[in-house]
Amino acid sequence: MALDSDRRSSPRTFYEEVMANTPGGEALRLCLQCGTCGGSCPSGEDMDHSPRRIFAMLEANMKDKVLRSNTPWYCVSCYYCTERCPQQIPITDIMYTLRRMAIAEGLYEDADAPDWSQTFIGMVEQFGRSYELGLGTRYHLTHRPLGKTGLGTFALDMLRRYRLALTPNSIVEIDQLRAILNKAKELEGA
Protein backbone atom coordinates (compact mmCIF):
# COMPACT_ATOMS: atom_id res chain seq x y z
CA MET A 1 0.00 0.00 0.00
CA ALA A 2 3.07 2.23 0.10
CA LEU A 3 2.53 2.83 -3.59
CA ASP A 4 -0.89 4.23 -2.96
CA SER A 5 0.29 6.86 -0.51
CA ASP A 6 3.02 7.93 -2.93
CA ARG A 7 0.44 8.47 -5.61
CA ARG A 8 -1.84 10.47 -3.39
CA SER A 9 0.49 13.47 -3.68
CA SER A 10 0.05 13.60 -7.46
CA PRO A 11 -3.42 13.87 -8.99
CA ARG A 12 -5.03 10.52 -9.76
CA THR A 13 -5.18 9.44 -13.35
CA PHE A 14 -8.48 8.54 -15.00
CA TYR A 15 -7.50 4.87 -14.90
CA GLU A 16 -6.86 5.03 -11.15
CA GLU A 17 -10.06 6.93 -10.56
CA VAL A 18 -12.13 4.25 -12.28
CA MET A 19 -10.50 1.59 -10.10
CA ALA A 20 -10.95 3.61 -6.93
CA ASN A 21 -14.65 4.16 -7.68
CA THR A 22 -15.40 0.45 -8.11
CA PRO A 23 -15.47 -2.03 -5.22
CA GLY A 24 -12.70 -4.52 -6.05
CA GLY A 25 -11.74 -2.39 -9.05
CA GLU A 26 -7.96 -2.80 -8.58
CA ALA A 27 -8.31 -6.16 -10.33
CA LEU A 28 -8.41 -4.11 -13.55
CA ARG A 29 -4.58 -3.97 -13.38
CA LEU A 30 -4.60 -7.74 -13.97
CA CYS A 31 -6.41 -7.54 -17.34
CA LEU A 32 -4.73 -9.87 -19.84
CA GLN A 33 -6.48 -8.43 -22.89
CA CYS A 34 -7.75 -11.94 -23.65
CA GLY A 35 -11.10 -10.72 -25.00
CA THR A 36 -13.25 -13.27 -23.18
CA CYS A 37 -15.46 -10.36 -22.04
CA GLY A 38 -16.22 -9.10 -25.55
CA GLY A 39 -16.73 -12.61 -26.85
CA SER A 40 -19.28 -13.31 -24.13
CA CYS A 41 -21.18 -10.06 -24.48
CA PRO A 42 -24.74 -10.38 -25.90
CA SER A 43 -24.82 -6.73 -27.00
CA GLY A 44 -21.12 -6.52 -27.90
CA GLU A 45 -21.67 -6.21 -31.64
CA ASP A 46 -23.58 -2.95 -31.17
CA MET A 47 -20.97 -1.38 -28.91
CA ASP A 48 -18.57 1.29 -30.16
CA HIS A 49 -15.71 -0.54 -28.43
CA SER A 50 -15.63 -4.02 -26.95
CA PRO A 51 -15.07 -4.22 -23.18
CA ARG A 52 -11.56 -5.53 -23.86
CA ARG A 53 -10.72 -2.46 -25.91
CA ILE A 54 -12.29 -0.20 -23.28
CA PHE A 55 -9.89 -1.64 -20.70
CA ALA A 56 -6.89 -0.93 -22.93
CA MET A 57 -8.24 2.59 -23.48
CA LEU A 58 -8.61 3.02 -19.72
CA GLU A 59 -5.02 2.09 -19.16
CA ALA A 60 -4.05 4.64 -21.82
CA ASN A 61 -6.20 7.21 -19.94
CA MET A 62 -8.35 7.98 -22.98
CA LYS A 63 -10.97 9.51 -20.76
CA ASP A 64 -12.96 11.42 -23.34
CA LYS A 65 -13.24 8.56 -25.81
CA VAL A 66 -14.15 6.03 -23.12
CA LEU A 67 -16.83 8.15 -21.49
CA ARG A 68 -18.33 9.25 -24.80
CA SER A 69 -18.63 5.69 -26.11
CA ASN A 70 -21.92 3.81 -25.93
CA THR A 71 -20.23 0.75 -24.41
CA PRO A 72 -21.13 1.30 -20.75
CA TRP A 73 -24.72 2.17 -21.71
CA TYR A 74 -25.13 -0.89 -23.92
CA CYS A 75 -24.06 -3.22 -21.13
CA VAL A 76 -27.16 -5.22 -20.19
CA SER A 77 -25.75 -6.32 -16.80
CA CYS A 78 -25.88 -10.03 -17.65
CA TYR A 79 -22.60 -10.73 -15.83
CA TYR A 80 -21.35 -13.22 -18.43
CA CYS A 81 -18.05 -11.33 -18.70
CA THR A 82 -17.68 -10.99 -14.93
CA GLU A 83 -18.33 -14.70 -14.51
CA ARG A 84 -15.93 -15.74 -17.24
CA CYS A 85 -13.09 -13.26 -16.67
CA PRO A 86 -10.01 -15.33 -15.82
CA GLN A 87 -8.68 -12.45 -13.70
CA GLN A 88 -11.94 -11.92 -11.81
CA ILE A 89 -12.31 -8.30 -12.84
CA PRO A 90 -15.73 -6.95 -11.76
CA ILE A 91 -16.48 -5.85 -15.33
CA THR A 92 -20.20 -5.15 -14.87
CA ASP A 93 -19.42 -2.93 -11.88
CA ILE A 94 -16.78 -1.09 -13.91
CA MET A 95 -19.41 -0.38 -16.57
CA TYR A 96 -21.62 1.14 -13.83
CA THR A 97 -18.67 3.27 -12.70
CA LEU A 98 -18.13 4.52 -16.27
CA ARG A 99 -21.82 5.44 -16.55
CA ARG A 100 -21.61 7.41 -13.30
CA MET A 101 -18.48 9.23 -14.45
CA ALA A 102 -20.03 10.00 -17.85
CA ILE A 103 -23.07 11.54 -16.15
CA ALA A 104 -20.94 13.48 -13.66
CA GLU A 105 -18.75 14.88 -16.44
CA GLY A 106 -21.59 15.39 -18.89
CA LEU A 107 -19.69 13.30 -21.41
CA TYR A 108 -22.11 11.28 -23.48
CA GLU A 109 -23.11 11.41 -27.12
CA ASP A 110 -26.66 10.14 -26.86
CA ALA A 111 -28.63 11.37 -23.85
CA ASP A 112 -31.30 8.64 -23.96
CA ALA A 113 -29.67 6.11 -21.67
CA PRO A 114 -28.43 8.57 -19.03
CA ASP A 115 -31.83 10.29 -19.01
CA TRP A 116 -33.61 6.98 -18.64
CA SER A 117 -31.50 6.13 -15.57
CA GLN A 118 -32.06 9.54 -14.06
CA THR A 119 -35.80 9.51 -14.70
CA PHE A 120 -35.99 6.06 -13.12
CA ILE A 121 -34.16 7.07 -9.96
CA GLY A 122 -36.16 10.30 -9.79
CA MET A 123 -39.30 8.16 -9.45
CA VAL A 124 -37.66 6.00 -6.80
CA GLU A 125 -36.56 9.03 -4.80
CA GLN A 126 -40.02 10.55 -5.02
CA PHE A 127 -42.08 7.48 -4.11
CA GLY A 128 -39.65 4.86 -2.81
CA ARG A 129 -40.89 2.48 -5.47
CA SER A 130 -40.81 2.30 -9.21
CA TYR A 131 -43.80 3.77 -11.05
CA GLU A 132 -43.77 2.37 -14.54
CA LEU A 133 -46.53 4.39 -16.16
CA GLY A 134 -45.16 7.71 -14.92
CA LEU A 135 -41.63 6.70 -15.79
CA GLY A 136 -42.55 5.50 -19.27
CA THR A 137 -44.64 8.52 -20.19
CA ARG A 138 -42.23 11.09 -18.82
CA TYR A 139 -39.25 9.49 -20.52
CA HIS A 140 -40.79 8.65 -23.88
CA LEU A 141 -42.66 11.92 -24.36
CA THR A 142 -39.38 13.77 -24.05
CA HIS A 143 -37.31 11.32 -26.11
CA ARG A 144 -38.32 11.01 -29.76
CA PRO A 145 -41.98 10.18 -29.04
CA LEU A 146 -42.79 9.85 -32.73
CA GLY A 147 -40.30 7.04 -33.18
CA LYS A 148 -41.91 4.94 -30.49
CA THR A 149 -45.34 4.19 -31.89
CA GLY A 150 -45.00 0.50 -31.01
CA LEU A 151 -45.05 1.43 -27.35
CA GLY A 152 -48.65 2.64 -27.55
CA THR A 153 -50.01 -0.84 -28.18
CA PHE A 154 -47.59 -2.16 -25.57
CA ALA A 155 -48.99 0.17 -22.92
CA LEU A 156 -52.58 -0.58 -23.94
CA ASP A 157 -51.98 -4.33 -23.73
CA MET A 158 -50.45 -3.90 -20.30
CA LEU A 159 -53.25 -1.62 -19.08
CA ARG A 160 -55.95 -3.95 -20.39
CA ARG A 161 -54.50 -6.76 -18.32
CA TYR A 162 -54.20 -4.57 -15.21
CA ARG A 163 -50.42 -4.74 -15.40
CA LEU A 164 -49.76 -1.00 -15.19
CA ALA A 165 -50.79 0.99 -12.14
CA LEU A 166 -52.41 4.34 -12.95
CA THR A 167 -51.17 6.00 -9.79
CA PRO A 168 -47.85 5.64 -7.96
CA ASN A 169 -47.69 3.57 -4.81
CA SER A 170 -45.55 5.40 -2.29
CA ILE A 171 -43.89 3.78 0.71
CA VAL A 172 -45.04 4.94 4.15
CA GLU A 173 -41.73 6.09 5.60
CA ILE A 174 -40.60 8.04 2.56
CA ASP A 175 -39.02 10.65 4.88
CA GLN A 176 -36.76 8.00 6.36
CA LEU A 177 -35.67 6.90 2.90
CA ARG A 178 -34.97 10.49 1.83
CA ALA A 179 -32.97 11.19 4.99
CA ILE A 180 -30.87 8.09 4.32
CA LEU A 181 -30.31 8.90 0.65
CA ASN A 182 -29.45 12.52 1.38
CA LYS A 183 -26.87 11.42 3.92
CA ALA A 184 -25.43 8.94 1.42
CA LYS A 185 -25.17 11.67 -1.22
CA GLU A 186 -23.51 13.99 1.28
CA LEU A 187 -20.98 11.28 2.21
CA GLU A 188 -20.26 10.50 -1.40
CA GLY A 189 -19.74 14.17 -2.20
CA ALA A 190 -17.31 14.51 0.70
Partner: protein, 317 residues
Protein backbone atom coordinates in the same frame (compact mmCIF):
# COMPACT_ATOMS: atom_id res chain seq x y z
CA UNK B 1 -39.54 -22.39 7.93
CA UNK B 2 -40.09 -18.65 7.96
CA UNK B 3 -38.50 -16.24 5.49
CA UNK B 4 -38.43 -12.49 5.01
CA UNK B 5 -40.05 -11.88 1.64
CA UNK B 6 -39.02 -8.92 -0.52
CA UNK B 7 -41.54 -8.75 -3.41
CA UNK B 8 -39.97 -5.88 -5.37
CA UNK B 9 -41.89 -3.29 -7.40
CA UNK B 10 -42.82 -5.52 -10.34
CA UNK B 11 -44.73 -7.98 -8.18
CA UNK B 12 -47.08 -5.24 -7.08
CA UNK B 13 -48.60 -4.82 -10.50
CA UNK B 14 -46.89 -5.85 -13.73
CA UNK B 15 -45.99 -9.26 -12.29
CA UNK B 16 -48.94 -9.67 -9.92
CA UNK B 17 -49.47 -13.17 -11.32
CA UNK B 18 -45.99 -14.12 -10.11
CA UNK B 19 -46.79 -12.84 -6.63
CA UNK B 20 -50.11 -14.61 -6.47
CA UNK B 21 -48.80 -17.95 -7.71
CA UNK B 22 -45.67 -17.76 -5.53
CA UNK B 23 -47.83 -17.31 -2.44
CA UNK B 24 -50.12 -20.17 -3.46
CA UNK B 25 -47.10 -22.45 -3.99
CA UNK B 26 -45.43 -21.43 -0.71
CA UNK B 27 -48.66 -22.13 1.11
CA UNK B 28 -48.87 -25.61 -0.41
CA UNK B 29 -45.26 -26.38 0.48
CA UNK B 30 -45.52 -25.07 4.04
CA UNK B 31 -43.08 -22.19 3.50
CA UNK B 32 -43.98 -19.04 5.41
CA UNK B 33 -43.20 -15.77 3.63
CA UNK B 34 -43.31 -12.64 5.76
CA UNK B 35 -43.23 -9.46 3.68
CA UNK B 36 -40.53 -6.95 4.62
CA UNK B 37 -42.33 -3.99 6.16
CA UNK B 38 -42.39 -0.82 4.03
CA UNK B 39 -39.68 -2.08 1.66
CA UNK B 40 -38.41 0.21 -1.11
CA UNK B 41 -37.25 -0.27 -4.70
CA UNK B 42 -33.87 -2.00 -5.10
CA UNK B 43 -32.80 0.54 -7.76
CA UNK B 44 -32.78 -2.05 -10.54
CA UNK B 45 -29.81 -1.57 -12.85
CA UNK B 46 -30.39 2.19 -12.97
CA UNK B 47 -29.41 3.51 -9.57
CA UNK B 48 -25.91 2.05 -9.70
CA UNK B 49 -25.37 4.00 -12.92
CA UNK B 50 -25.97 7.34 -11.25
CA UNK B 51 -24.75 7.37 -7.65
CA UNK B 52 -22.72 4.61 -6.06
CA UNK B 53 -23.14 5.08 -2.34
CA UNK B 54 -26.85 6.04 -2.47
CA UNK B 55 -27.43 2.95 -4.64
CA UNK B 56 -25.94 0.57 -2.06
CA UNK B 57 -27.72 2.46 0.70
CA UNK B 58 -31.07 2.23 -1.07
CA UNK B 59 -30.69 -1.56 -1.14
CA UNK B 60 -29.34 -1.71 2.42
CA UNK B 61 -32.46 -0.04 3.81
CA UNK B 62 -34.35 -3.19 2.84
CA UNK B 63 -31.79 -5.46 4.50
CA UNK B 64 -31.98 -3.30 7.62
CA UNK B 65 -35.76 -3.58 7.81
CA UNK B 66 -35.79 -7.37 8.17
CA UNK B 67 -36.72 -8.26 11.77
CA UNK B 68 -33.93 -9.82 13.89
CA UNK B 69 -35.71 -13.17 14.24
CA UNK B 70 -35.48 -13.83 10.51
CA UNK B 71 -32.14 -14.67 8.91
CA UNK B 72 -33.17 -15.61 5.39
CA UNK B 73 -34.47 -13.18 2.82
CA UNK B 74 -36.18 -14.16 -0.42
CA UNK B 75 -36.38 -12.15 -3.62
CA UNK B 76 -38.52 -13.54 -6.47
CA UNK B 77 -37.13 -11.02 -8.98
CA UNK B 78 -33.65 -11.82 -10.24
CA UNK B 79 -32.60 -8.15 -10.41
CA UNK B 80 -33.68 -7.50 -6.81
CA UNK B 81 -31.95 -10.72 -5.83
CA UNK B 82 -28.63 -9.64 -7.33
CA UNK B 83 -28.80 -6.17 -5.79
CA UNK B 84 -29.66 -7.45 -2.31
CA UNK B 85 -27.06 -10.21 -2.46
CA UNK B 86 -24.37 -7.94 -3.86
CA UNK B 87 -24.91 -5.21 -1.27
CA UNK B 88 -24.87 -7.79 1.51
CA UNK B 89 -21.65 -9.29 0.16
CA UNK B 90 -19.86 -6.04 -0.64
CA UNK B 91 -20.65 -4.62 2.80
CA UNK B 92 -18.97 -7.68 4.32
CA UNK B 93 -16.02 -7.56 1.93
CA UNK B 94 -15.31 -3.83 1.80
CA UNK B 95 -15.32 -2.25 5.28
CA UNK B 96 -15.07 1.30 3.89
CA UNK B 97 -18.27 0.82 1.94
CA UNK B 98 -19.97 -0.81 4.95
CA UNK B 99 -18.93 2.10 7.14
CA UNK B 100 -20.37 4.71 4.79
CA UNK B 101 -23.59 2.77 4.20
CA UNK B 102 -24.01 2.39 7.97
CA UNK B 103 -23.54 6.11 8.51
CA UNK B 104 -26.22 6.83 5.90
CA UNK B 105 -28.62 4.26 7.36
CA UNK B 106 -28.13 5.81 10.80
CA UNK B 107 -29.58 9.05 9.43
CA UNK B 108 -32.87 7.15 9.24
CA UNK B 109 -32.40 5.39 12.57
CA UNK B 110 -31.51 2.07 10.94
CA UNK B 111 -28.53 -0.25 11.08
CA UNK B 112 -27.43 -3.47 9.40
CA UNK B 113 -24.80 -5.97 10.39
CA UNK B 114 -23.17 -6.94 7.05
CA UNK B 115 -23.63 -10.58 6.15
CA UNK B 116 -26.33 -11.18 8.80
CA UNK B 117 -28.93 -12.23 6.23
CA UNK B 118 -28.75 -15.02 3.73
CA UNK B 119 -30.25 -13.58 0.53
CA UNK B 120 -31.85 -16.20 -1.70
CA UNK B 121 -33.84 -16.38 -4.89
CA UNK B 122 -37.32 -17.86 -4.68
CA UNK B 123 -36.33 -20.74 -6.97
CA UNK B 124 -33.43 -21.69 -4.68
CA UNK B 125 -35.73 -21.86 -1.65
CA UNK B 126 -38.37 -23.88 -3.48
CA UNK B 127 -36.05 -26.50 -4.96
CA UNK B 128 -33.62 -26.79 -2.05
CA UNK B 129 -35.72 -26.22 1.05
CA UNK B 130 -38.97 -27.84 -0.08
CA UNK B 131 -37.14 -30.22 -2.43
CA UNK B 132 -37.97 -31.96 -5.69
CA UNK B 133 -39.40 -35.03 -3.93
CA UNK B 134 -41.93 -33.11 -1.86
CA UNK B 135 -42.88 -31.12 -4.93
CA UNK B 136 -43.38 -34.27 -7.02
CA UNK B 137 -45.58 -35.72 -4.29
CA UNK B 138 -47.85 -32.67 -4.36
CA UNK B 139 -48.50 -32.90 -8.09
CA UNK B 140 -52.11 -33.80 -8.86
CA UNK B 141 -52.25 -32.47 -12.42
CA UNK B 142 -48.97 -33.53 -14.07
CA UNK B 143 -47.85 -31.30 -16.91
CA UNK B 144 -47.68 -34.36 -19.14
CA UNK B 145 -47.04 -33.69 -22.79
CA UNK B 146 -46.47 -29.98 -22.22
CA UNK B 147 -43.13 -28.93 -23.69
CA UNK B 148 -41.72 -26.34 -21.31
CA UNK B 149 -38.53 -24.40 -22.00
CA UNK B 150 -36.89 -23.40 -18.71
CA UNK B 151 -35.54 -19.86 -19.02
CA UNK B 152 -33.06 -18.79 -16.35
CA UNK B 153 -31.89 -15.48 -17.78
CA UNK B 154 -28.85 -13.82 -16.29
CA UNK B 155 -29.15 -12.57 -12.79
CA UNK B 156 -30.45 -15.72 -11.16
CA UNK B 157 -27.30 -17.62 -12.07
CA UNK B 158 -24.69 -14.89 -12.56
CA UNK B 159 -22.67 -13.74 -10.67
CA UNK B 160 -22.27 -17.30 -9.35
CA UNK B 161 -25.04 -18.00 -6.87
CA UNK B 162 -23.72 -21.09 -5.14
CA UNK B 163 -26.75 -23.25 -5.89
CA UNK B 164 -26.61 -23.68 -9.65
CA UNK B 165 -24.19 -23.52 -12.55
CA UNK B 166 -23.69 -20.02 -14.03
CA UNK B 167 -23.34 -21.32 -17.60
CA UNK B 168 -25.57 -24.36 -17.73
CA UNK B 169 -28.02 -24.31 -14.85
CA UNK B 170 -30.29 -27.29 -14.18
CA UNK B 171 -32.42 -26.52 -11.09
CA UNK B 172 -35.44 -25.29 -13.05
CA UNK B 173 -35.12 -28.22 -15.48
CA UNK B 174 -35.32 -30.65 -12.58
CA UNK B 175 -38.20 -28.79 -11.00
CA UNK B 176 -40.23 -28.86 -14.22
CA UNK B 177 -39.46 -32.55 -14.62
CA UNK B 178 -40.79 -33.13 -11.09
CA UNK B 179 -44.01 -31.48 -12.27
CA UNK B 180 -44.26 -34.01 -15.07
CA UNK B 181 -43.44 -31.62 -17.91
CA UNK B 182 -41.47 -32.47 -21.02
CA UNK B 183 -38.45 -30.27 -20.43
CA UNK B 184 -36.95 -28.59 -23.50
CA UNK B 185 -33.16 -28.53 -23.42
CA UNK B 186 -32.19 -25.53 -25.55
CA UNK B 187 -28.82 -23.75 -25.71
CA UNK B 188 -29.87 -20.19 -24.83
CA UNK B 189 -31.54 -20.93 -21.51
CA UNK B 190 -29.20 -18.68 -19.53
CA UNK B 191 -28.83 -15.92 -22.13
CA UNK B 192 -29.92 -12.35 -21.53
CA UNK B 193 -33.41 -10.92 -22.27
CA UNK B 194 -31.91 -7.43 -22.49
CA UNK B 195 -33.27 -6.10 -19.20
CA UNK B 196 -34.07 -2.41 -19.58
CA UNK B 197 -32.43 -2.24 -23.00
CA UNK B 198 -35.90 -1.92 -24.58
CA UNK B 199 -35.92 1.64 -23.23
CA UNK B 200 -32.44 2.52 -24.47
CA UNK B 201 -32.12 0.93 -27.88
CA UNK B 202 -35.10 -1.06 -29.11
CA UNK B 203 -33.09 -2.42 -32.02
CA UNK B 204 -30.55 -4.06 -29.72
CA UNK B 205 -33.23 -5.23 -27.28
CA UNK B 206 -35.49 -6.80 -29.92
CA UNK B 207 -32.60 -8.81 -31.30
CA UNK B 208 -31.84 -10.22 -27.83
CA UNK B 209 -35.50 -11.14 -27.37
CA UNK B 210 -35.79 -12.58 -30.87
CA UNK B 211 -32.85 -14.92 -30.29
CA UNK B 212 -34.52 -16.42 -27.24
CA UNK B 213 -37.94 -16.81 -28.83
CA UNK B 214 -36.38 -18.27 -31.95
CA UNK B 215 -34.30 -20.76 -30.00
CA UNK B 216 -37.24 -21.92 -27.88
CA UNK B 217 -39.39 -22.22 -31.02
CA UNK B 218 -36.69 -24.22 -32.81
CA UNK B 219 -36.92 -26.76 -30.01
CA UNK B 220 -40.73 -26.79 -30.23
CA UNK B 221 -41.46 -25.30 -26.83
CA UNK B 222 -45.17 -24.89 -26.00
CA UNK B 223 -44.39 -22.46 -23.21
CA UNK B 224 -41.38 -20.73 -21.66
CA UNK B 225 -41.07 -20.83 -17.87
CA UNK B 226 -39.26 -17.86 -16.34
CA UNK B 227 -37.99 -16.82 -12.94
CA UNK B 228 -37.92 -13.03 -13.22
CA UNK B 229 -40.51 -10.28 -13.96
CA UNK B 230 -38.10 -8.47 -16.28
CA UNK B 231 -37.62 -11.58 -18.44
CA UNK B 232 -41.37 -12.23 -18.49
CA UNK B 233 -42.12 -8.66 -19.52
CA UNK B 234 -39.55 -8.60 -22.30
CA UNK B 235 -40.45 -11.97 -23.80
CA UNK B 236 -44.21 -11.61 -23.38
CA UNK B 237 -45.16 -7.95 -23.71
CA UNK B 238 -42.56 -7.16 -26.39
CA UNK B 239 -43.23 -10.32 -28.42
CA UNK B 240 -45.62 -8.43 -30.72
CA UNK B 241 -43.06 -5.65 -31.24
CA UNK B 242 -40.40 -8.23 -32.05
CA UNK B 243 -42.72 -9.90 -34.55
CA UNK B 244 -43.41 -6.55 -36.18
CA UNK B 245 -39.74 -5.63 -36.27
CA UNK B 246 -38.52 -8.89 -37.82
CA UNK B 247 -41.63 -9.98 -39.69
CA UNK B 248 -41.82 -13.11 -37.57
CA UNK B 249 -44.83 -14.82 -36.07
CA UNK B 250 -43.85 -16.15 -32.66
CA UNK B 251 -46.71 -16.91 -30.32
CA UNK B 252 -45.03 -18.46 -27.32
CA UNK B 253 -46.70 -17.92 -23.96
CA UNK B 254 -44.37 -16.91 -21.12
CA UNK B 255 -45.36 -18.07 -17.66
CA UNK B 256 -43.70 -17.88 -14.26
CA UNK B 257 -42.43 -21.21 -12.98
CA UNK B 258 -44.67 -20.74 -9.94
CA UNK B 259 -47.73 -20.55 -12.21
CA UNK B 260 -46.87 -23.94 -13.67
CA UNK B 261 -46.28 -25.30 -10.17
CA UNK B 262 -49.64 -23.99 -8.98
CA UNK B 263 -51.37 -25.59 -11.97
CA UNK B 264 -49.61 -28.90 -11.32
CA UNK B 265 -50.70 -28.67 -7.69
CA UNK B 266 -54.28 -28.50 -8.96
CA UNK B 267 -55.18 -24.86 -8.39
CA UNK B 268 -57.61 -23.10 -10.71
CA UNK B 269 -56.38 -21.02 -13.61
CA UNK B 270 -57.40 -17.93 -11.69
CA UNK B 271 -55.46 -18.86 -8.55
CA UNK B 272 -52.42 -19.50 -10.73
CA UNK B 273 -52.71 -15.94 -12.00
CA UNK B 274 -53.41 -16.91 -15.60
CA UNK B 275 -54.93 -14.41 -17.98
CA UNK B 276 -52.57 -11.50 -17.42
CA UNK B 277 -50.01 -12.67 -19.96
CA UNK B 278 -50.17 -10.80 -23.27
CA UNK B 279 -49.60 -13.93 -25.36
CA UNK B 280 -52.39 -16.17 -24.10
CA UNK B 281 -51.28 -19.43 -22.50
CA UNK B 282 -54.65 -21.15 -22.85
CA UNK B 283 -54.09 -22.73 -26.28
CA UNK B 284 -50.92 -24.41 -24.98
CA UNK B 285 -52.43 -25.31 -21.63
CA UNK B 286 -55.25 -27.20 -23.34
CA UNK B 287 -52.68 -30.02 -23.47
CA UNK B 288 -52.98 -30.43 -19.72
CA UNK B 289 -56.73 -29.72 -19.65
CA UNK B 290 -56.55 -26.23 -18.22
CA UNK B 291 -59.41 -24.21 -19.60
CA UNK B 292 -59.99 -20.51 -19.73
CA UNK B 293 -62.47 -19.49 -17.00
CA UNK B 294 -65.86 -18.84 -18.59
CA UNK B 295 -66.18 -15.26 -17.31
CA UNK B 296 -63.06 -14.20 -19.12
CA UNK B 297 -64.61 -15.09 -22.45
CA UNK B 298 -67.18 -12.41 -22.20
CA UNK B 299 -66.24 -8.81 -22.77
CA UNK B 300 -68.61 -6.41 -21.07
CA UNK B 301 -70.52 -4.77 -23.92
CA UNK B 302 -72.11 -1.39 -23.74
CA UNK B 303 -75.84 -1.21 -24.00
CA UNK B 304 -76.77 1.68 -26.27
CA UNK B 305 -78.46 4.38 -24.27
CA UNK B 306 -81.67 5.87 -25.55
CA UNK B 307 -80.47 9.39 -24.70
CA UNK B 308 -77.23 8.96 -26.62
CA UNK B 309 -76.63 10.78 -29.89
CA UNK B 310 -77.20 8.59 -32.94
CA UNK B 311 -73.95 6.85 -33.85
CA UNK B 312 -73.28 4.53 -36.76
CA UNK B 313 -73.80 1.01 -35.49
CA UNK B 314 -72.18 -2.16 -36.77
CA UNK B 315 -74.74 -2.50 -39.55
CA UNK B 316 -73.86 0.99 -40.87
CA UNK B 317 -70.21 -0.02 -41.54
Amino acid sequence: MRYAFYPGCSLERSAASYHKSAMAVADRLGLIFQEVDDWNCCGATEYFAVNKLPAYTLVARNLARVPDDLNQMIAPCSACYVNLKKTNKYMSKYPDLADQVSQALAAGGLGYDPGRLHVRHLLDVIVNDAGYKTIAQDVVRPLSGLRVAPYYGCLLVRPKNGFDNPEYPMSLDRLLRALGAEVVDYPLKAQCCGGHMTQISDKVAYELIRRLLHNAAEYHADVIACVCPMCQLNLDAYQANVNRHFGTDYRIPILYFTQLMALAFGTSAREAGLGSEIVSAYPALAKIDVEMPKEEDKRPHKRPSKQALPMPGKEAR
